[in-house]
Symmetry: C2
């Protein structure tokens, strides 16, 4: 099978929102007048971002999910994406799985594949996704205000837990491992929540490199500090204020306290939204969580004093330095 | 140096057209009301698209050039681009060269770097570029009409010639090799010509996989055939109808006839525009070429009879089958 057959068979779809999709020199998008186009680009490398043994359908899902998560973090509605794919060889079973996982998630968000590139080389997946947001409404990292509540969506730490099992530093029962592994291999981009938070939150980021490290980007850009409490790490499924299970899963809640702290606060690969909102917006935050069926947990507040302080459940600062994930560190 | 320092030092620039550039979850673009956004994505892999020894500044230039060439092929004006970069390690000399070549070309076209991704892995460069075109004005592959003239911009065949020297199948003098090598390593995207052809040409494609192969995409999509003459391959710098040197360079003109045919017609990596236009538009094609200082050579015509016939300078069909480039063939 050649390059053009490969595109034709696995990736060419009719487009509805795009003026022109796969198959010309460029895709053509008609963006809605009076909207801003949001653009995210992420690259996944075998051995670095995923294991060679991963289910290709899950990998297809994840490759798009990490980009949709970036769109969610600015509150944009997904519109379209391009896929650049470097493959060692044409493996039809792999391609069928990969494209099915990819396009299933794309369909679920009405996000059309409009073009890209295929080439021979080490396995590498680069997706660039486009979304739309009303001008001025995008949730930026730079707008956190002193006194804001800090929230996290969904649950954090499971992807890191699964990674540690793969690394052999941790053991889990089969069922618990499958749950954690699914969180690592098939994350849920919080697209609906991101949109719902546009008029509610002040600042947002998606957690890919670890909660504290990514929150740090908000703090640095906004010129503020933060205090994070850890009471939400004491038990799973507290149903929080959004009346939905949140914070950490039962699997994570069974870990020793120090592991729980490390995996949840600096684990990475979570693709949850960390965001800040004024105290007087709490009801609207809960409404956004409820309407989008997305767990949301309040985990701290923005402070005038710079730096990031983590408090133990007794309210005492934890001295431990939490590593954030850096691809070249 | 970490991932964020790397971005900060080599790739973060102030943006003027983009509402938000590098450094948040997404870039934000305000597209002009009443325009279509054109999107192109290309991936360059070490060993496949470039040699490990290539000058990094030239590689930076080429990585963007191949995308700008796709924008040119639909007649779009460049707006912005994202860069996803997988690097084995942080090599500052390499990064300084790569970013300077990349951003010099970007500046020349007013095309802003607005985001992307950096990661550790085998050297891989994925650029997604955005341009604008008035709705309905994009030059598509599907619009070639029977009777249209077929044109090629600039010169073709030199990139392939340089590749053959690297492969050791051909020898060239130092100066001739440098010229051919520059064409391979630092191609000129025909952006101004593409825009100028919007109201003039019927169909266009950029030549990356070889002239005949890429013309074949126009023929297939338009449901037509073509007859290509080869008189323009008899000598270099004929100054053609655009009064500019065109078709092939003096270096290529010194090759034996069969090599000239093969390299020019199916060499690949040329990043010239192949386009079709009605016979009564010849003066406007010449004007577009002249105004944009771009050589343009008329090389054949679109026929009702399907298939692609190449005629020798005596007007006799050449039986030889010319291979087009397919990354998985």
């Amino acid at each position: 099978m050649g390059e053009f057959d490969l595109i034709e068979r696995y990736f060419k779809r009719p487009t509805h929102k795009a003026a022109l999709g796969v198959g010309d020199d460029c895709a053509l998008l008609n963006t809605t007048p009076g909207m801003q186009l949001a653009v995210s680009s992420d690259m996944l490398v075998e051995g670095r971002h995923f294991l060679s043994t991963v289910d290709p359908a899950r990998l297809g899902h994840k490759a798009l999910a990490v980009n949709l998560s970036d769109l969610a973090a600015v509150g944009a509605e997904p519109l379209a994406f391009t896929l650049a794919l470097s493959l060692p060889r044409v493996d039809e079973a792999w391609l069928a799985g990969f494209s099915s996982g990819l396009l299933r998630l794309a369909d679920a968000h009405g996000c059309e594949l409009v073009g890209g590139d295929t080439t021979q080389g080490p396995l590498n997946i680069c997706i660039t996704a486009f979304g739309e947001v009303p001008p001025g409404d995008a949730l930026l990292r730079q707008n956190a205000q002193v006194g804001d509540d800090i929230y996290i969506s969904g649950t954090v730490g499971d992807a890191r837990l699964a990674l540690e099992v793969f690394r052999g530093t941790h053991a889990l029962s089969g069922e618990a491992f499958e749950q954690a592994r699914l969180r690592m291999e098939q994350p849920t981009p919080r697209v609906a929540l991101g949109s719902a938070l546009r008029a509610v939150a002040n600042a947002a980021i998606d957690v890919s490199d670890g909660l504290l490290g990514d929150l740090g980007h908000i703090l640095k850009r906004s010129g503020v500090g933060a205090q994070i409490d850890t009471t939400w790490l004491q038990a799973a499924g507290s149903f929080g204020e959004a009346r939905l299970p949140a914070g950490i899963t039962p699997v994570l809640a069974e870990l020793p306290w120090n592991k729980r702290l490390e995996f949840a606060l600096s684990g990475g690969d979570d693709y949850e939204l960390c965001f800040t909102a004024p105290v007087n917006q709490r009801e609207l935050v809960h409404a956004a969580a409820w309407e989008t069926h997305t767990p949301v947990t309040r985990i701290g507040r923005i402070t005038q004093e710079l730096g990031l302080v983590v408090l133990d459940p007794q309210g005492q600062p934890i001295a431990k330095r939490f590593a954030s994930f850096d691809h070249f560190a």
